[in-house]
């Protein structure tokens, strides 16, 4: 065996372990060994770290017998995403570990959590379409178990909406993949590059992954799901799994190799609307989880806009891709930090301390793009991209970005005020747990600065004009928030928006009701039955008449004559 062969096997092993470990643990959780397995929950993400550090870029391991011929590998984008995702999962599994102490539905939770993790890792590693699709589906469906974990009516409803949308997404994705596979004649992700995309494919891909990131018409699941899922689950949903959607776009519509102006328009418009819509509905919410969800809708809308800009032409694509990744990293970290913070406060028995509030305020404002935070870096990069693109898009940076930044600021402040006013119900104070939030916070604050690839944008964000430009929306947002709160502090917020979100479900229910069985078969068979019964006396009578001598005699004679006539 040559060294390369051994290496290949080792790589294959490592990559398999990344998804294999969580799956194995999930399987163990179904067995009596559950307790032991639960203890090893945080280890599930370990092989991912291993892979990040040992597997070289662009190694592709082929597993022809698996599924429809699977390929695994780790490219540059994949590595970033794996890094990010495994980090969040790792933290979340610690957090879950804590959660699970006295939960009855532990088994369910563990199985779904681990399966979703496996799916999330797997899709990052996948180097073929079906592998991606497979793990994407595994992750999406497993996440359903997390969404409805609490088994409340709200959770069930959230789950229903989630499942419906996921299903729509799956089908759209499936269709898109078939078209892509047909056009490229291969299943390998690399071969997509040269394919010219039909607008339909773009739309389908938008739907397929858009569901996952809560793009505008498909955002309905996000708010209720974040709100009703257990917080560690919501964390991974918001921090890790949404990225699967972004990664999906990057994989199937590789920026820099794909361009479509109509597609770009679709993405930009949908994203921009989502960015505003998220803020608006977020302000009306009273639950911290829901507000975070709305913020995700809004932030993901921004990323959709970035992706849409990248679709404009090849050059834009080349420059947009790293920005998108940067933004994704920033958002994931910030959002998961917020969730961890939220959880911390939920759990502890005493109200929010000032230190804690400040700590939470940091990632919150990072989302809004406060100078010196990762948000500022990402937004600067975004702005530069828009500026470079020229006229129609330049406006984005001038009006749109500040407005969203202001909105986000308001939203985040709203979030914190909600946190402050919420009554804490938790009792325990936990050592492990108190570690998670700080780690996450530190990571949020530092990683982008330490990241070599982001250095360029980071340095740009430190320019004085940029700082100023980044600062005023935050300040403006703060002021606006304060005034808004004063006006409507005690006003009850109508819940009409929430109703609207269940539109999909309502549609489904109506459709089902329309198709309720009308029992139309019974009367029909009854009609047939009575018809038969009416016929029988006639048959009997006819047979009786045919049995009379005179009828027989007549027919006898007639037959005689006729035959005679015919034979003569």
């Amino acid at each position: 065996m040559t060294p390369t062969a051994i290496q290949t096997i080792l790589h294959a092993l490592t990559l398999s372990l990344v998804t294999g470990t969580p799956l194995l643990l999930a399987a163990l959780c179904c067995t009596p060994l559950q307790k032991a397995a639960a203890r090893f929950l945080p280890c599930a993400a370990m092989p991912a770290f291993l892979a990040i550090f040992t597997t070289p870029i662009n190694v592709v391991v082929e597993v022809p017998w698996f599924f429809m011929g699977s390929r695994m590998g780790l490219d540059e984008t994949g590595r970033i995403f794996l890094c990010l995702t495994s980090f969040i999962w790792f933290l979340a599994s610690f957090s879950s570990h804590n959660l699970l102490r006295k939960d009855k539905g532990k088994t369910h939770y563990l199985v779904f959590f681990l399966t979703a993790m496996a799916g999330n890792f797997g899709l990052i590693l996948a180097r073929d379409m079906l592998g991606y699709y497979l793990f994407f589906a595994v992750m999406s469906f497993a996440a359903y178990g997390l969404v409805i974990h609490k088994r409340t009516a709200d959770a069930a409803k959230a789950g229903r909406i989630y499942l419906t949308l996921v299903m729509i997404g799956e089908v759209a994705l499936f269709t898109a993949l078939i078209i892509l596979a047909h056009n490229s004649g291969s299943l390998a992700l690399e071969d997509i590059a040269g394919v010219s995309h039909h607008p339909l494919t773009l739309i389908l891909l938008f739907i397929g992954f858009g569901v996952k990131i809560g793009a505008l018409p498909f955002h309905g699941w996000m708010v209720p799901a974040y709100q009703s899922a257990p917080i560690p689950a919501a964390t991974v949903l918001a921090g890790a799994m949404v990225n699967a959607g972004i990664l999906g776009w990057l994989r199937f519509l590789p920026l820099g190799q794909t361009s479509s102006s109509q597609g770009a328009l679709l993405f930009v418009v949908a994203g921009a609307l989502a960015a505003l819509y998220g803020v608006i509905i977020g302000l009306s919410r009273k639950k911290a989880g829901a507000i975070l969800g709305c913020s995700s809708i809004s932030q993901m809308g921004l990323m959709t806009v970035i992706f849409g800009l990248g679709l404009l032409d090849y050059n834009a694509g080349i420059s947009a891709a790293p920005i998108l990744i940067l933004y994704a990293v920033h958002h994931s970290l910030a959002k998961s930090t917020l969730f961890f913070g939220y959880e911390l406060i939920e759990r502890q028995s005493k109200p929010l301390s000032h230190l804690q509030m400040a700590a939470i305020l940091l990632p919150a404002l990072a989302l809004a793009g406060l100078p010196f935070t990762s948000g500022a870096i990402a937004k600067t990069a975004f702005k530069e991209l828009a500026v470079n693109l020229g006229e129609p898009w330049y406006g984005l940076s001038v009006f749109f970005l500040p407005i969203t930044a202001m909105g986000t600021t308001m939203l985040m402040l709203h979030f914190i005020s909600i946190l402050r006013h919420s009554k804490s119900t938790g009792t325990s104070k936990n050592a492990e747990h108190s570690v998670i939030f700080p780690i996450s916070l530190i990571a949020t604050l530092t990683i982008i600065w330490l990241w070599p690839a982001a250095r360029h944008s980071a340095s740009h964000s430190l320019a004085a004009t940029t700082l100023l430009q980044a600062l005023w929306p935050v300040i403006g947002g703060c002021l606006l928030f304060l005034s808004w709160q004063r006006i409507s502090f005690n006003k009850k917020v109508p819940v009409g928006v929430q109703e609207k979100q269940t539109g999909f479900e309502a549609l489904l229910i109506t459709a089902t009701k329309l198709m309720q069985e009308k029992k139309w078969q019974k009367p029909q068979s009854g009609r047939l039955h009575s018809y038969r019964h009416r016929l029988i006396p006639h048959l009997r009578r006819t047979e009786k008449i045919m049995g009379r001598w005179k009828v027989v005699g007549l027919s006898y004679l007639a037959l005689c004559l006729y035959l005679l006539f015919l034979l003569l």
Binding site: M68, L134, A137, E170, V171, I178
Partner: protein
């Protein structure tokens, strides 16, 4: 007779003889009967695997029995028949085990198992049939042998269902007979050949051949439950669960679908059909069936009825794939769905039977929280249901993928559309069941708790669905391996030179 012919005969006899003996076994000799059943099933699997190996290495299996000039019985083992025979025999073994558990202590078991064995004999006969006449022979006998099983409970409802089944099936058979005779009048002997009949007939008899094709499809379409001809299937769900499994997954519906495959690929041949231009008709009917079956399934509350409509919808995937006969990918999708649908549907019916037999649950509205009581059953059910929807890595996805690719390759966008809509509808009627059973709250006591024991239900009832569910995932996960249904189907398609 050479060994190959002996093999064919013994494949048939391996279930026929036990069947005949079982008729004579006294009711109370439970072990003897079970032993006979299992021995027969296992022996059959072994023999069929031997045949598969032979076929793979190019051995020719054939027996001819001339009846009258132009009419001969022909048994022929080719890759396609191996596919169906293997599927049937494997599922047979599981169904037998299941049925033994299911019917424990109920009356008339000898009668039941006797017909059960005859039924598989006939199904294998259909698989091995080498010409249309032999196919017809076994096709009609299948109706006869399944009828006693459908009315096994003897209630008025089951008699009604049985009567409808007979009317449908024999009407189909009659149309089929008519068409076969007509075809034979034109083209002579109808031995299955990979290329179909010589295309010179198309020049002379195009219209007639097209009409005959339609009639043939109607004939087999009754069993395949194509849409206007599907009425018997939902009614037949009054039969015991193993029989439903048999109808939906092993024998009857499959025989119809297999018939469509045979007619398209072996009797007419791809080239001829393209010349005749009747395939869009088949594709259209199949599409309508897919959608109609799904929509009707949505409206059912009775679990088995919903599954029945789901079968109607799913089996038409096979017809849909076959209707795109010039696209190897679509043909692969159709053929492989023959196996995949069987695996998934049998799992579902096993589970439905378990629910009914253990807790007396027949309706979906009674299923809230049932997964807590019967986690393994419901796990198997979920796998089957997800497979039906087409979630990877189950086998259902594999079929759909190939169908979609084939449809695109043929330039038929609507195929993909149909697949997408159907998947959505499948999700609409399966996912609520899953969510109810896994995450719903139990509403009061179970309708009729019949079994309380160490496991969630009898072991003989529990094992078969778990095994099939495992296969559903495993066969999907290793679809591309050397030994898998997909690999065999590719082998078949290579044989046809598509």
């Amino acid at each position: 007779m050479n060994w190959g012919q002996w093999l064919l005969v013994s494949i048939l006899l391996s279930s026929f003889i036990p069947g005949i003996i079982i008729f004579g076994v006294p009711e109370e000799k439970h072990r003897l009967r079970t032993g006979l059943n299992l021995c027969g099933s296992i022996l059959k699997i072994v023999l069929i695997l031997a045949m598969d190996t032979g076929i793979y290495f190019g051995h020719n299996f054939e027996i001819r029995l001339p009846l009258i000039p132009g009419v001969e019985l022909l048994l022929n083992g080719d890759p396609l028949s191996a596919l169906f025979a293997t599927l049937s025999s494997v599922l047979w073994l599981l169904t037998t085990i299941y049925a033994v558990g299911y019917l424990e202590g109920s009356p008339n078991r000898s009668h039941f198992f006797g017909y059960f064995s005859l039924c598989v004999t006939v199904t294998i006969g259909i698989a091995l049939a080498g010409n249309l006449i032999t196919f017809l022979l076994f096709y009609e006998m299948l109706t006869l042998t399944t009828y006693p099983l459908i009315i096994h409970r003897g209630t008025e409802k089951s008699l009604h269902a049985g009567r409808n089944y007979l009317i449908y099936a024999f009407s189909g058979g009659a149309v089929f007979l008519f068409a076969v005779v007509a075809l034979q009048t034109i083209i002579g002997p109808t031995d299955f050949a990979t290329t179909g009949f010589p295309s010179s007939f198309i020049d002379t008899h195009a219209t007639v051949l097209a009409v005959i094709f339609v009639l043939l499809i109607i004939g087999v379409g009754v069993k395949a439950a194509l849409v206007p001809l599907h009425g018997w299937l939902p009614q037949a769900m009054v039969a015991p669960a193993p029989v439903s499994a048999l109808l939906h997954a092993v024998a009857v519906v499959k025989a119809g679908a297999f018939g469509i495959i045979r007619i398209v690929l072996d009797v007419y041949g791809a080239q001829n059909l393209l010349l005749l231009g009747v395939l869009p008709l088949l594709g259209g009917i199949a599409s309508i069936t897919i959608l109609y079956g799904s929509i009707r399934a949505l409206q059912q509350d009775d679990l088995k009825r919903r599954l029945a409509f789901s079968t109607i919808s799913q089996v038409s995937y096979i017809a849909l794939g076959i209707s795109l006969v010039d696209q190897p990918l679509a043909v692969i999708g159709g053929l492989v769905h023959l196996v995949h649908q069987g695996l998934m549907k049998i799992t579902l019916f096993f589970c439905a039977g378990n629910l009914a037999e253990t807790l007396g649950i027949h309706r979906i509205s009674e299923m809230d929280g049932v997964a807590r009581r019967m986690p393994f059953t419901m796990a198997a059910f979920s796998i089957g249901a997800l497979g039906m929807i087409g979630i990877p890595p189950t086998v259902g996805f594999v079929s759909k993928w190939y169908l979609g690719l084939g449809g695109l390759a043929a330039g038929n966008w609507w195929v993909v559309l149909i697949l997408a809509v159907s998947s959505l509808l499948n999700a609409c009627y399966f996912l609520p069941i899953l969510t109810r059973s896994w995450f719903g709250k139990q509403q009061g006591p179970w309708p009729e708790e019949l079994y309380v024991g160490r496991f969630e239900t009898r072991l003989m009832l529990l094992t078969p669905p778990l095994v099939t569910a495992f296969i559903v995932i495993a066969a999907g996960a290793v679809a591309n391996a050397q030994i898998s249904p997909l690999a065999w189907v590719r082998f078949i398609v290579r044989k046809y030179g598509l």
